[in-house]
Symmetry: D2
Subunit: 474 residues, 4 copies
């Protein structure tokens, strides 16, 4: 048996490539859309991918199952569980609870495990060449290392009212079946730390059934009501694009055929794009964006969370131009197509040329924490904390209002156009994005706290404490 886990950091998402060396066949579970990764493993290990499957209709990335089938002619195996509303809309071999399928000597048994979603299935793998007992279970968004999948996405992201409690109860019952598995079975989940599909995922790639039974909080609450309440409590904000993912993954994502290579725009092509009002997505370093950018650009830093923020902030109907370096464009485009943002019509690298035409840049007004400290008591300043609610409640600057950057557009009425609006986040990345969104919406008096809450607590920490002491003494 050959086994390789493929971990995509940007989405904290795991897929699995499992092969039988006796017959040279292989299967991929939960593939991402940039399928070259799997084709390369197959090529290197001299295995032929014959099947592809997935645990459920994903909400956080586009499935690569159709893409893989189009490229290699493999059979697509998908869940037929979950009822009429949860049936895949494209051709596949249906899978039901307890059904088996084989890849060479490897036996996969389907285990219906609703909770995160109604149609969710897991796969119990037995290497029949080695023994008769299962070696691994692939749990998708059912059981994570130290956590379980959240059942509230449909309700929060897709607005299907009432589903989150139903899901939580299903999860409770699915976990009962999980507990019946042998302790020694390895557990390989669909997500790792950092995913928005759960709330406290560990930074370990795998676990075992027995260990999860011991330490996973969700396997240690025996009372259904308490479980439901705990599970639904404190889940982070789901990214806005999740409902779009659900829809596309159900009907079947478009076939790309090959990885798109957006054109490197010349200066004049870029000027045309500006004239045509294409959406500009600036991916440079946050300090460079603050130092100057093309008016109207939306800022999303080229980093681990690029996919997620693009999904939050961009409109699936728009056509995009990226401000990006040649060396970064490949990864950026991959990050976008992973969530179905396929409309990148080009990228532009040489901002200096545009500047040298005498064009006027837009600048993000900035303060560092020392400067903010000097004027923090000024009543003409409105502080907006654009982090998640969990981060905000863990500690924030006094008198700040919390608006998650992903919900900024929905809360523009809370921004006081008459005041100097100081936005901040943890380290300055999300607040630079927030600044770009507000400037884009015509707000004028926006100031970004460069080093974020981090610098506020660290560098200005002593001052704050001293200040507090002084106040106490008074």
């Amino acid at each position: 048996m050959f086994f390789q886990n493929v971990y995509e950091k940007g989405l904290a998402q795991a897929s699995y490539f499992i092969g039988c060396q006796a017959t040279n066949e292989a299967i991929v579970i939960d593939p991402k859309r940039d399928i070259d990764t799997y084709l390369e493993i197959a090529d290197k290990e001299n295995l032929r991918i014959t099947k592809v499957t997935e645990t459920h209709i994903h909400a956080d990335f586009l499935s690569g199952a159709r893409e893989l089938a189009a490229a290699t002619g493999v059979e697509i195996l998908l869940s037929d569980e979950g009822g009429a509303d949860w049936q895949y809309g494209y051709e596949h071999t249906g899978l039901k609870d307890k059904q088996e399928f084989w890849v060479g000597n490897l036996k996969f048994e389907v285990m219906h495990s609703p909770g995160h979603t109604p149609e969710h299935i897991s796969f119990v793998l037995t290497d029949t060449a080695a023994g008769t007992k299962p070696i691994m279970i692939f749990t998708g968004d059912f059981v994570f290392v130290g956590d379980v999948g959240r059942p509230d996405l449909l309700e929060k992201a897709a607005g299907i009212i009432g589903t989150q409690e139903v899901g939580a109860r299903q999860m409770f019952h699915s976990l009962k079946r999980f507990k019946e598995l042998d302790d020694f079975i390895q557990v390989w989940p669909g997500h790792g730390a950092g995913s928005a599909c759960g709330k406290s995922l560990g930074a370990i790639p795998c676990s075992t059934v027995g260990y999860e039974k011991l330490v996973n909080w969700a396997l240690n609450i025996d009372e259904e009501e308490k479980f439901v309440q705990t599970l639904l409590d404190g889940q982070p904000e789901p990214p806005k694009y999740f409902s779009m993912m659900k829809k596309l993954n159900k009907t079947g994502p478009d076939i790309l055929g090959s990885m798109p290579h957006p054109a490197k725009l010349t200066l004049s092509q870029f000027e045309d794009a500006l004239t045509n009002k294409l959406t500009l997505v600036d991916t440079r370093d946050k300090l460079a964006f603050a130092g100057g950018h093309i008016p109207g650009s939306i800022y999303i830093q080229n980093g681990a969370s690029f996919s997620t923020w693009a999904g939050w902030l961009l409109n699936y109907d728009d056509e995009f131009i990226l401000i990006a370096s040649e060396s970064s464009i490949g990864d950026l485009v991959k990050a976008l197509i992973r969530i179905g943002l396929d409309n990148v019509s080009g990228y532009f690298s040489d901002l200096d040329k545009w500047i040298n035409l005498g064009n006027d840049l837009e600048i993000v007004n900035q303060v560092n924490c020392s400067e903010l400290f000097e004027k923090i008591d000024n009543p003409e300043i409105q502080l907006i904390d654009v982090r998640g609610v969990n981060e905000f409640t863990d500690g924030s600057i006094a008198d700040a209002t919390n608006i998650h950057v992903g919900y900024l557009y929905d809360n523009l009425d809370k921004i006081d156009n008459e005041k100097e609006v100081v936005v901040y986040c943890r380290s300055g990345v999300r607040s630079t994005t927030a600044s770009s969104l507000l400037l884009n919406k015509g707000f004028k008096n926006i100031t970004n706290l460069t080093g974020g809450y981090l610098s506020w607590t660290q560098d200005c920490g002593n001052k704050v404490e001293k200040e507090n002491q002084l106040e106490t003494e008074r």
Copy 2:
């Protein structure tokens, strides 16, 4: 808890980087000598390596523990078990059976597990932030996935007579303790498939205690004598350099300070090296070597087994020149320093320049299988199969003599200088090496079977069968 396994394919060797995110401390278990890998993980994950340890005195690669300590000042933790002959000769904190040490919230418990070697220890890890039970065991060369460490290396490679049986019995008793561990504990071993430290290692990175108890042959023989006999039976030839590794790892490998960068030789520097009779190691494609090489070169293909063959065939006291491309030299040098072959004084890439001086190349005489088939019955041909004995006994060309390429120098008297000597292996790599060794020793009439036994059975298979049929019919 942060966990990352680092797998070095050339030696099929696994090391482990484990960190506690609460205190930002980390430990490395069984580091290889090119320690940049660990420094990069530490840098990326913002963790500080504070401890380094190893499971035993390795025989197949040089330990990077001293190197890591020299670079970062970490504490070295080493086994003090195994008796007087097995004590490390350099500064360290000693570890004894059942002793504990901590890395942040992570507790490591030492488990003395002799068998592969007398001082061998394993580490049982408990993440105390998650629970009170262990999550993983790091077994080094004690328990592999589907196999256990071989106890015969000392006897075979280092010539310490009688040790292999003693080791086998120790292994039997160590396994008893292993069986007492909880089923759900993950097992992360020191080697994967392809290592010479065991005979049937699986191609899966990890297992669990419970699963190994079910499927690992070594945990399913309850009778000591039968266990000892089975364990010692059919172990592959240990590479010759293993005794050198043992010696160096015990006294402590030299500190490199930084990765060596051998000079790219100009033509005239290379001519000087030839004049000084430095050892030439040709690493090009096997077909290029056969097509022409500098007389006297030793052939070791740049591939997954480069370290191993270099260890088998090169002399630790020699100074080497590599015939290698600029893009490959970095990996080749890493592969060499991993086993302590530090004496690379340069490399030469531009063979054409040397040829264009009018120098005469040496050519490896070759046949393909069709040509060999035509003359196979000629009594003036001696067939030498240079594969391992296990491969040879699985099937070979009729009348071939088996001499493992690593033992060729010890068996030159078996080569008949009067006949045409046809060497072959599986696919032509090792037989090209064998050809280079024999040419280097002055044999003249050497012929290499290009496609090896593979082409003989595949491409000439039908002919052979037909031939056999004809013979049967006659």
Copy 3:
């Protein structure tokens, strides 16, 4: 004025990018077909290409004029001189002797300069911002550094009988006009050393009118008959593809749109290609090809002359598969499209995989010079020298027959199938190609002299001399 010469080493071909910084306009003279080079200069220097022209209908490479026009909309300026048979067949602005055109402040005056070809023109450039006198002349294949263009290509390559003498006489008269130019004018020709478009081109990028008048042999013969005779004497063999180039350049090369990226073939795609009998072009190192290759492959080394040999040896109607590394494929494809060999349907890099299926390689039988020396007197050996006739007459191995590798297919009847045929060239590259051609045509007993005539004269030189001495003494 901005000036940059673009030199393509493989074809020893020069093109010129000249811009007027006052108006940001630029022109390209004699562009190659991979026009990205010019677009990048334009982008970097902030110039807009507005015109493209060429000196004549090239015979050694495909013109990039149409490609550049298609990409940027520039005006194409082409010669309307030379009579009815020499008119371009695609849309352009016609140029006649003494006509002028402008690029910003730069004035180009057309000078009809037949000889190499009837329609050939040169461009005399005056930078009117600096002065009223010309600064440079772009001579194409009219005047080179130390030589002039050859007038025999049409007759030799295209078989148009009688044209070479007519051309030689035209050249004589064109040179008279050249001599009337001012001495200080810089001369920038269309080719440098190594081109087949002249016989003794210097390794200096440019010259001056005055200097050429002093040292260029062709400007120092005043008698027409003697000039004609000297010019036609000793011209090297013109590559076979020259007639095809003439034809395509006259009617207009196909527009590529963008640089082709042939697919990297997987093993099974490659096996399909073999089944479909696509032409295999092996571009690896010559020693690797000799050491083993796929039966039927044609060998053309990846090197400076790749374009030229591909033009000599490949059939424009065939579809090709290259055996090439991923890092080399880009340059190889450029080299092919430069001469219109656009039919590359893919490349295959991993010969080992094909070998590991058990397939049988073909091997080139080889000798080095020492071995050849031993058997050189054997009457059963036929020596074939595949170098050019000029090289052959400069010195060769005794009793060798000279057949230029490019004419080998036309002279197969001269190869004695009953003897051992030893092929050699200068250093072993062309003889490896010759070996591949002969093996491809079914010859069995072919041997390649590895180090070529170079090794024969250098390494075996002393032996040869001694032998000769012995013979003289006898």
Copy 4:
């Protein structure tokens, strides 16, 4: 004869590699200090460098002659002209006017050509294999394309009063000798457009004697006084480091042995460097620097003029840390060692890590031209134009004070600490540098005009004109 010009864009400096293919010998004229360029050409062309020479004691870069001699053992040929004050202080073969030396068949004749400097010599090259007349002259900083070397550097940069007029007169007489050369001789100068060694150099790599006689202004003034006056008029500001270069080139630059590779600093190493007050040179994009940088950093953009600005602004006795990316560090270090700034002790790439410790960044306050336009009439604003005086006199914003960025430290008393100081240059690069210098000196109220004078004239041009019209109408 083999000929290759090597052009270093950052210093607009040309060196020449000339070889004789008959004897495989070569010479380098005016080498830069990163001599790998020449060694690579020699290797590629199979030539052996046997001599190195230079035209004069350079003021704008460190000579690589000693470095080349140390690496290859070549003979150094240097001018012994110019009198006692202008003698080289290290071992060499002396050259005097009209002296000859040979490289194979190539004859070099020394021509003393003072003016730029007293010891300046030029080399007249004759390829004796081709003819008896010279083919080229290497003029160093004597005659450029369209200009001549400036004679005022010693006086302005080194403060040797009275030398500029003496030099101008010497230049007048040297040019008389130049005019006597044959028209057809190619002229290859020491600098191209953009060098500070002349005032109007053309963007063409070479010229001819005859053409320069026609168009070069300096060869067309026959009256000495007028010539002297014209030559000295309007020369740009010489960079401050020129006097240091003169001194080092005279005594002989230090031998590097190999190119320095400064260490990539880890976060903790970088923090140590900050504690030790090493000079920080930030080389990132200007907008990123403005958006945030480590307090106290000096800004020099990684671009074509990096060497020059480093020479202007850095102190030769300091130790430097560069803020730079890994991919840029090689070129940056080369640019620094070319002018003798060898003290780079490391570089730091990961500013985000430093920020994530909670450290406070310094921000450059910025305006774009629209914003400046709104408040330009405010008397509390002081406008500083940091461009060269020639640029300033060509056009500037009303009421601006001109202080060349290179002289800013000498004119701090002209900056009004009480006002908002708005600095600008052409496009925002030099003004960002100026901002960094002023912040470094403790000025608080500094504002940078982002798009520079370019944006002022382009984007705000209409507004300015309208404003002016309004004013005129009033």
